[in-house]
Symmetry: C2
Subunit: 337 residues, 2 copies
């Protein structure tokens, strides 16, 4: 068999003059109907002409196994990730695989180099927690599973938590305490969790007949304590009355604590705060944080199982595996003053 540079999704896309995501949709039976029949026909033709090999064959060509799976995460200092990695690691270790982790630090160039080197070192598969909504992934070389975040185009298996369910429970809880002016410190909108939680907030607030106005929503540029503090401080300066805040994750919620402290306000006496993730140690904070618990370890374990399945039987389609979220009520929420 002759070896040459492998034809990728992007090569097919270039020939047809469409985006790679379109090619991905056409070649995946579950998304093919999203593309016009004419484009689909031209993609099929180009793929055949160029000799594009879909995953099953490409996987079959791999003979040298490294018994190593690469995990790429956006921020290792976010305490959310270590328990997920532990779930991945335990599950893969039982199957004889070693997990290696790399941290992009939310830097796209660093991410590109990591992926290139991990593939170059022949990891047998990749689990990605760093993807952005716009990303298009090519599973030509190794199977890929997404963790915590999904991509808009789909086509790749992802294990995520129930974002609408979690936000819904948080708003129900605050509403039942008597809150009406509930603000949202939203996550970055280029990440699936950021937009999903923001949309869930809007939709649930509307369902309950609660006010959804622009002055109740602030968008953070990243998931960090500093951004949470910055954005809630803006709310507090604007003098719009609010009695509760839902932060899109726990780091943002801790930043809200910082903003309240700096403004001389008490939590929950003046303003209630709800987080998302139930990351380690938030039960020991002052006050212990009310937050949406996502099953971090189980998300990792499910991603590991999915990647093991794809290594064994790469022919399958993709699925979005949604694990349940549960509100954990602690001491950062109380009736409005």
């Amino acid at each position: 068999m002759m070896a040459g540079p492998r034809v990728t999704l992007r090569d097919v896309a270039r020939k047809v003059g469409v985006h790679a995501s379109t090619v991905s949709r056409v070649l995946n039976s579950s998304t093919r109907s999203m593309v016009s029949p004419e484009i689909a026909r031209r993609v099929d033709e180009a793929a055949r002409d160029l000799g594009y090999r879909p995953n099953p064959i490409a996987y079959g060509l791999k003979t040298r196994r490294s018994l190593t799976v690469g995990v790429v995460i956006p921020d290792l200092t976010d305490p959310l990730f270590p328990p997920m990695i532990r779930g991945i690691d335990d599950t893969l270790a039982r199957a004889g695989y070693t997990t290696i982790v790399a941290n992009t630090d939310n830097d796209r160039e660093r991410e590109r180099v990591i992926l290139e080197r991990m593939r170059g070192r022949h990891v047998d598969a990749l689990i990605l927690g760093s993807t952005r909504r716009e990303d298009v992934l090519d599973e030509d070389e190794v199977p890929v599973v997404l963790i915590n975040r999904s991509i808009d185009v789909g086509g790749v298996t992802a294990v995520v938590s129930d974002n609408p369910g979690g936000i819904g429970q948080a708003i129900d809880h605050l509403a039942s305490l008597g809150h009406r002016r509930i603000a949202h410190v939203a996550g970055p909108q280029y990440v699936s969790t950021g937009i999903a939680r923001y949309q869930a907030y809007r939709s649930k607030m509307e369902d309950l007949g609660l006010p959804v106005t622009p002055d109740l929503v602030g968008h953070c540029e990243s998931y960090s304590r500093g951004e949470g503090k910055r954005v809630l401080s803006l709310f507090l300066q604007s003098r719009e009355p609010l009695t509760a805040v839902i932060a899109a994750n726990d780091l943002l919620a801790l930043g809200c604590y910082d903003a309240l402290k700096a403004a001389g306000l008490r939590c929950p006496g003046d303003i209630s705060v709800v987080g998302f993730n139930d990351m380690p140690f938030v039960d020991m904070m002052d006050p212990p944080l009310t937050t949406v618990r996502i099953p971090q370890y189980d998300i990792g374990a499910a991603a590991a199982r999915a990647v093991l399945e794809r290594m064994n039987e790469p022919a399958g389609g993709f699925e979005i595996i949604v694990l349940p979220s549960t509100l954990v009520v602690r001491a950062s929420t109380a009736p409005p003053p």
Copy 2:
């Protein structure tokens, strides 16, 4: 050039009938004087007969660079490590290297497999945070630098924090508040940090003329919140009066919080608690933890610089780089009741 199985330190040791650490000492000019001249002569002879190649030559043989450095840590869920890894990662990234991290979960078998696979994948160097005091390391294949922990035999560069300095400041602080019966929740004694902090505690207590009795010291089997709770609970049941506890790290200190809560005691009203590491988020705990800050990011950066130096100039000896520790006084310490 003929390739065969590489002769290691252990092969030389077996031939002479001594421990590998002895061979390491003999072959390192800075430690050779610790071994008797007769043994040193026999080791030299065996090394020559077997064709043992010291590091500089072995390094010279490496041609294919992976531009990847492996970092091995004992417990990724300990918040101490992410900032260290970030220090490593930033420093290595500037030099064009990618960092990959693996977690042993304190499991020696998993550690063995990780090291085997990392070397098999040709990482260019290793930074190890998982070593135990008894370990003997062979730098034949790639340069190795230790982080946070050292090994008894020495011979390998290690970047650690000032354990005696940190513990000394903690005891000075408690003594100045009026505490005399200060207990120590000690770390595992098979790890350098565990024994160094324990010895520093004994020595400083004696210096100040404070009681050092067996009933004031409890040893934990691992650095974990659960072990801290277990060991302090035993103290509290023994009815020996104590007014302050120094925990060997912050996870153990948080376990002490749990034990006090379970016993209906207040911190610091009834018992003061001091931790070690100043890991992220302990400033937000209830109460904010008084602890010894170690420069986590800088320790990582120093280890990365050391490993870059060893890759460039592998001929050098080894050094123990000690970075300063500083007590940070927060609200978990107060005068005794």
